[in-house]
């Protein structure tokens, strides 16, 4: 199963503010390490993680960078570098969601589900969004 890991998952994993969700994220990343999930991320996700850690949580730039560099060691990771501005603007016009959601939604490759805690992605019919807990019930990881 191919999964695009969205920013909220990384933030829930790095910041200890909800133990249940942290445990879900740990299980999700374990499945990746076991090769049961093929992970995708994007340049937008990286920039959002950096922003949240350094600007909102005032974590030092170098500490945040060190954490982010470790993401690139994930088994089978693919980093999507391209954005689709016309596609993002079209989604932004059509649905009542943040532009950042649109930018990410257009980066998710076909046939890849986006794993996220952000329910706004479910408003976009062309994107299959699932919370981490749903992954564990999927046949492809059991």
């Amino acid at each position: 199963m191919k999964v695009f890991i969205e920013t909220s998952i990384f933030i829930r994993f790095l910041v200890r503010d909800n133990d249940k969700k942290l445990a879900e994220c740990v299980s999700l990343f374990n499945l990746i390490e076991e090769g049961k999930l093929i992970p995708y991320i994007s340049n937008t996700v990286i920039s959002e993680i950096l922003f949240v850690l350094t600007k909102i949580y005032k974590i030092s730039k170098f500490s945040a960078l060190g954490d982010i560099e470790k993401i690139f060691n994930f088994r089978n990771i693919t980093v999507i570098e391209k954005t689709n501005t016309p596609g993002s603007l079209s989604l932004f016009k059509k649905y009542s969601i943040k532009y950042g959601d649109c930018l990410i939604a257009t980066q998710v490759p076909k046939g890849v589900a986006i794993v996220t805690y952000d329910t706004d992605f479910s408003k976009i019919p062309s994107v299959k969004s699932i919370p981490p807990a749903e992954i564990f019930n999927s046949d492809s990881v059991n």
């Binding site: 920013t7 909220s8 998952i9 933030i11 829930r12 994993f13 790095l14 910041v15 200890r16 503010d17 909800n18 133990d19 969700k21 942290l22 994220c25 740990v26 990343f29 374990n30 990746i32 390490e33 076991e34 090769g35 959002e48 922003f51 949240v52 850690l53 600007k55 909102i56 949580y57 974590i59 954490d67 470790k70 993401i71 060691n73 994930f74 088994r75 943040k98 532009y99 950042g100 959601d101 805690y117 952000d118 329910t119 706004d120």
Partner: protein, 78 residues
């Protein structure tokens, strides 16, 4: 501890249960493999990133579900 195993025609190696138990290897995954003279050393790897779980404790956490309500894409000096 030592035991016998087989190297397959595709050079795959099975790690026997007794060896797995000895080192507490319960899950499959990646391993670091290196050669030392005539020996092959296999070392199971845990992702560096997994060790970061819950690394930061913050005073006023934002709801990760609505993270983009807090992200200013125009961040910079104005």
């Amino acid at each position: 501890m030592e035991t016998l195993t087989t190297i397959t025609p595709k050079f795959q190696v099975h790690i026997p249960v007794s060896i797995r138990k000895k080192i507490g290897l319960k899950k499959h995954g990646r391993a670091l493999i290196r050669a030392e003279k005539k020996k092959i050393i296999i070392e199971p790897m845990k992702s560096d990133f997994l060790s970061l779980a819950g690394k930061y404790k913050v005073k006023n956490p934002i709801p990760a579900e609505k993270i983009r309500d807090y992200i200013d894409y125009a961040d910079g000096k104005r």
